[in-house]
């Protein structure tokens, strides 16, 4: 089956196509490497409980912290440049479902437990989403 598809592709495509695809492919691989090496701006994580900041940690640091909110302890984990809520006492666990954040300006909120996590850094207004 796949051989048949390849045969058909050979019929359809010209040499120019293959050259174009090869050039683009190399460009993609190269650009992935280039963007890997871009400096990781010194971002930090700010954790607040009822409006008061209780922690400020560099995002590059791998650690786990325990924060006491009004319902109980929320465990927050920072690893591989991302922050997320590992365990929460709140009933619906929306904060855990908010996933892992890493870009500055992104937030995780746990309303029942009054916990607010925010990534801060030099690029204050980074993109949330792009749609077309």
């Amino acid at each position: 089956m796949s051989e048949c598809v390849m045969e058909k592709l050979k019929d359809i495509m010209t040499k120019g196509d293959w050259v174009l695809i090869a050039i683009l492919g190399t460009g993609i691989v190269l650009s992935f490497f280039v963007f890997r090496w871009l400096p990781d701006a010194g971002r930090s994580v700010s954790v607040s409980v009822e409006g008061r900041e209780v922690y400020r940690i560099a995002l590059s640091e791998d650690r786990e912290i325990c924060v006491r909110g009004c319902l109980g302890d929320t465990r927050i984990r920072i690893a591989k440049g991302k922050v997320w809520i590992a365990e929460a006492p709140c009933p619906q666990k929306f904060c855990r479902k908010m996933g892992r954040i890493s870009r500055s300006g992104e937030v995780i909120v746990c309303v029942p437990n009054r916990i607010f996590i925010r990534v801060e850094g030099p690029d204050k207004r980074s993109l949330d989403a792009i749609t077309m």
Binding site: L9, L20, S31, A129, T131
Partner: protein, 164 residues
């Protein structure tokens, strides 16, 4: 001549529907789209030429934006500017030294031009931030995959329904 107008109208209709349907289909990343509507532009370029292709493009983007309720929305501006640049680039790729590229290659050129144009427009009009450039590898990759897929589809369609 009137057959041509009817065919153009049909292509506009097909293009708008493809555009609207694609808005509904979920992709893992919201900014990556298949670009199925590009098939219509490819066929128009192949059958007639730049003038007809641009006409179809503008009409289908307008109609498509009415269908999805995004007239004059940023998405509309991006679609229109990206589409026009893509059409021009594909015209050049198709006409310049005939047969260097098949429809597959032309489609890749179009997708590439469209993505770059949209990134630039998005950068200058909406999100003046160099961070947007870091999306480039992802864009290029999606360009390659969707460009090939759309090109093959257009080729198969061209074989079957090309008007005399």
């Amino acid at each position: 001549m009137s057959l041509r107008y009817v065919t153009i109208a049909l292509l506009v209709a097909i293009g708008s529907i493809l555009f609207a349907v694609e808005n509904v289909v979920q992709t893992p990343f919201p900014w990556i789209r298949l670009g199925l509507a590009n098939i219509v532009t490819l066929l128009a370029l192949q059958w007639w030429g730049l003038k007809e292709a641009l006409l179809i493009l503008v009409l289908r983007v307008l109609l498509g934006s009415f269908l999805t309720g995004k007239f004059l929305h940023p998405a509309f501006v991006l679609s229109l500017s990206g589409g026009i640049v893509a059409t021009l680039a594909m015209h050049v790729a198709l006409v310049y030294k005939k047969r260097i590229f098949s429809l597959v290659g032309v489609s890749i050129v179009g997708a590439l031009a469209k993505n770059i144009a949209q990134l630039l427009v998005a950068y200058f009009l909406y999100v003046k931030q160099s961070m947007i450039i870091t999306l480039l590898p992802l864009f290029l990759f999606s360009t390659l995959v969707t460009g090939i897929a759309v090109g093959i589809l257009a080729h198969l369609l061209n074989q079957r329904i090309a008007p005399k």
